[in-house]
C-alpha cells in the first residue's frame, strides 16, 4: 500500500514520519507548483476554490507516482471543503485512476479516530505503537512551527534577503530525517540558534503584520503567492494567527474536554457576528478585533468564491476599532504584480502610520 495526502505547508514532514513509524509507505507528491495547479484546475469546476484545485492536483501527481490510497480531511464542521473528498474521488475515478479514498473526520473523531485510521492503514499495528507514532509526528510538527515563528521574525530584518529561508530549508530536511525524540530536540536547538545568528540589519522594530483568513490559504504558501516571504522581504514581521500544531492540539485532544481555543476569538467577534458562518469566517472577524492593539495591520487571505470569508470581509468595514486590513483573494487567476503593489503600499502605510503615532507620543512628552 502506498498512502498519499495533499500538501498544506510543511505538514508532509510529520505525516511522513507518522506513517514511517508504523511501517506504511507514504508517497509525497512534488510540492505545489504551477503544474499541480494546472492539473488540478483542468479537472475542477471553474468556481470552486483554490484549495480544491491544488489538493486535486496533489492527488493526480501522487497517483502518477504510484499512490494507491488517498487520505483526505472531510466531514461536517468545515465548509464545503467537507465534501471535497467525495467529489474529488468521483473526478479521479472518471479519469480512470484506481485507488482507495480514505477520509478522516477530525472534528468528529478526535485522537482515537485518527489512531484507528492509522491502525487500519498499517494493517493493524499495535495501538501503543500507533499512539507513539502520532506523538512523534506531533513533536515534529511543533518543532517546525516553533522554528517558523522565529523565521517570521528574522526575515524582517535579515541583512541578506533569503538567508533565513535557507536555514529553514536545511532545518526542514533535518527534521524530516530525525529518527528519535532526542535527535529532534538537538536539531531544534541547533537551528533555533542558527536562525538567531542570521546577520541582521534594517529597522530594529519592524512593523508587525498579522495574517488571518481561511485555514488552507493561510497555511499553504503556494496558494497565497508566498505572502509571508514577500512581507518579510518588505521588512515586515509576520504573526500568523494559525499554526497547525496549535490547531491539532485542540482538535485532537483539548476539544474532547470541552476546551476550545476559539471561544476567546468568538467572544471578541460577538458585537458583529454571533454564529458560525462555516469555514473560518467567524474567526477572521474575531482576529481583527482581538489583535487591534498588538499588530500594526492585518492581512486577510481568502480563496476566491469562499462564502465564509466573503461574509467576514463585508463585516470588516463596520468594525470601529480596527487596524488597517488588506484582503488578498487567492485564485489561480491572481496576478503576482498586483498583489506585490498592494503589499508594498500596505507596509508603507503601516510604517508611516506608526511613525506618526510615534510623533504623537513624542509631542505629549515634554
Amino acid at each position: 500500500m502506498k498512502v498519499a495526502m495533499p500538501h498544506m505547508g510543511h505538514i508532509y514532514v510529520p505525516l511522513r514520519t507518522l506513517f514511517r513509524e508504523v511501517g506504511v509507505e507514504m508517497v509525497v507528491p512534488p510540492l505545489n507548483s504551477r503544474r499541480t495547479l494546472t492539473l488540478g484546475a483542468k479537472h475542477s469546476p471553474e468556481f470552486v476554490c483554490i484549495p480544491f484545485k491544488l489538493t486535486l492536483g496533489n492527488f493526480i501527481e501522487a497517483l502518477e507516482m504510484g499512490a494507491d490510497t488517498l487520505v483526505m480531511a472531510a466531514g461536517p464542521g468545515l465548509c464545503r471543503f467537507g465534501y471535497y473528498a467525495k467529489i474529488q474521488e468521483r473526478i479521479l475515478r472518471d479519469q480512470g485512476y484506481h485507488f482507495e479514498m480514505v477520509t478522516t473526520e477530525l472534528f468528529e473523531s478526535k485522537l482515537m479516530g485518527v489512531a484507528n485510521l492509522v491502525k487500519r492503514l498499517s494493517n493493524g499495528a499495535p495501538t501503543q505503537k500507533v499512539l507513539a507514532a502520532i506523538r512523534f509526528g506531533l513533536a515534529k510538527l511543533g518543532t517546525l512551527d516553533e522554528l517558523e515563528r522565529v523565521l517570521h521574525q528574522v526575515r524582517a530584518t535579515e541583512a541578506e534577503k533569503g538567508s533565513a529561508d535557507q536555514v529553514f530549508q536545511q532545518a526542514l530536511a533535518a527534521i524530516d530525517g530525525a529518527d528519535s525524540r532526542a535527535a529532534l530536540k538537538e536539531i531544534k536547538n541547533r537551528y533555533l540558534m542558527k536562525l538567531q545568528q542570521v546577520e541582521r540589519d534594517g529597522e530594529t522594530e519592524p512593523v508587525v503584520v498579522g495574517i488571518t483568513g481561511e485555514f488552507y490559504v493561510v497555511l499553504e504558501p503556494f496558494s497565497n503567492m508566498d505572502l509571508e516571504r514577500e512581507l518579510g522581504r518588505l521588512g515586515a514581521e509576520v504573526r500568523r494567527t494559525t499554526f497547525v500544531s496549535e490547531w491539532m492540539k485542540f482538535s485532537l485532544f483539548l476539544n474532547a474536554f470541552g476546551l476550545s481555543e476559539k471561544d476567546r476569538i468568538h467572544q471578541a467577534a460577538a458585537p458583529y457576528l454571533r454564529r458560525d458562518v462555516g469555514g473560518d469566517g467567524w474567526e477572521s472577524v474575531g482576529d481583527i478585533i482581538l489583535h487591534s492593539h498588538d499588530y500594526d495591520g492585518l492581512i486577510h487571505v481568502a480563496p476566491f468564491t469562499c462564502g465564509p470569508e466573503i461574509i467576514a470581509q463585508n463585516i470588516f468595514p463596520a468594525i470601529k476599532t480596527r487596524i488597517p486590513v488588506l484582503t488578498v483573494i487567492c485564485d489561480e487567476q491572481m496576478g503576482r504584480a498586483g498583489m506585490l503593489t498592494r503589499l508594498e503600499a500596505f507596509v508603507e502605510l503601516l510604517r508611516r502610520r506608526r511613525a506618526r503615532k510615534g510623533l504623537a507620543v513624542a509631542a505629549l512628552v515634554p
Partner: protein, 326 residues
Amino acid sequence: MEIYLGVDVGSVTTKLAALDENEGLVGSLYLRTQGKPIVMVQQGMRDIAECLPAGAVVRGVGTTGSARYLAGVLVGADVVKNEITAHAVGATHYVPDVQTIFEIGGQDSKIIILRQGVVVDFAMNTVCAAGTGSFLDQQASRLSMKIEDFGRQALESQMPVRIAGRCTVFAESDMIHKQQMGHRTEDILYGLCEALVRNYLNNIGLGKEILPPVVFQGGVAFNPGIVRAFEDTLKTKLIVPPYHEVMGAIGAALLAKEEIESHRRETQFRGFGISDMSFHTSSFECKACANICEIAQIMGDGKVVARWGGRCDMWERTSASVEQQA
C-alpha cells in the same frame, strides 16, 4: 537649477514630471504608453530634457506605476515606489489637508484615505474594468465620439437615464437599449458617468469614510461629467488639482528628492543619454523547478541590466551580480 524627475509608467499612459529644488513644476509630459513602455520612457526623457532650462542638473529620479521596476532600471532610479504612496505624496503637496483621494486611471482606480497627512487606508480595483477610464473610452468610441468631448456633452443632460453599471458588458447592452428607446445621447452619457461613479463608490469605496477635502486625480478627472456625478452623489465639492494627470509622477519626483536629501547621496540617474541606448527585452522559461516561471530579461546595449519574474530570488540575484560585473 537642480532638477528632480518623476516617471510614472501606467498601463495606458506614461507621465513625467520635473521639479526644481523648491518643488515647483518645471515641466511635465503626458504620453500614451501604447504597449511600449521602454520606448515611451526613452521618448519621454528626450522630450522632458527639452523642457529644462540650460544648466539644469538632475539630482534625483523616482519611478512609479505598474512598470515602475522596468522604468527604474532604464533611468537609474533612486527610488521605486508603488502608486498609492506616489499619488498620496503628490496630492498632499498641492492640498496639504486632503483626507480622501480618488484616482481613476486607464485600467485601474484607487481610493486613498489620509488623516493628518498620512495614508491610513486604501483600495485598488481588482479585476473589474467597469470603474476605470477604459470603460469610458470604449463607450465613447462606440458612440463614435472623442473621449475629450464626452464630459462636456454629458453636462448638457437634463434628464439622465439610469445605466446598469456593474459590468461593462451589462452597461453596453443597457446603453444600446436606452439609445434604441429614443433617449438623448447626453442623457445616456451622464447616465454612464453616474454608473461609473456608483461602481467606484460601491466597489473600491466600500466601507471607506469619505471626508473632505476630496481630491480627484488621474486621467478621468479631465472629464467634467464624472466630476459632477461624484459631486451630485456625495454632496461634496471635489478638488481637481492642477497637473492632476501627472500627480503620480510629481509624487515620484518628491519621493526621490526626499530620498536624496535624507541620505545626502548622489543620484543613480543614468543621464538623458538613455534615450539613445538600445534596450530590448526577451524572456525565457526557467526550468529549475516545476513552477516554470517566465523570466523577463532586459538588455541595455547588449548587456543584461535586469531580470525578474520568478517566484524565487534565483534570477534577481543573478542579475544583481551581472550588473556588478558590468
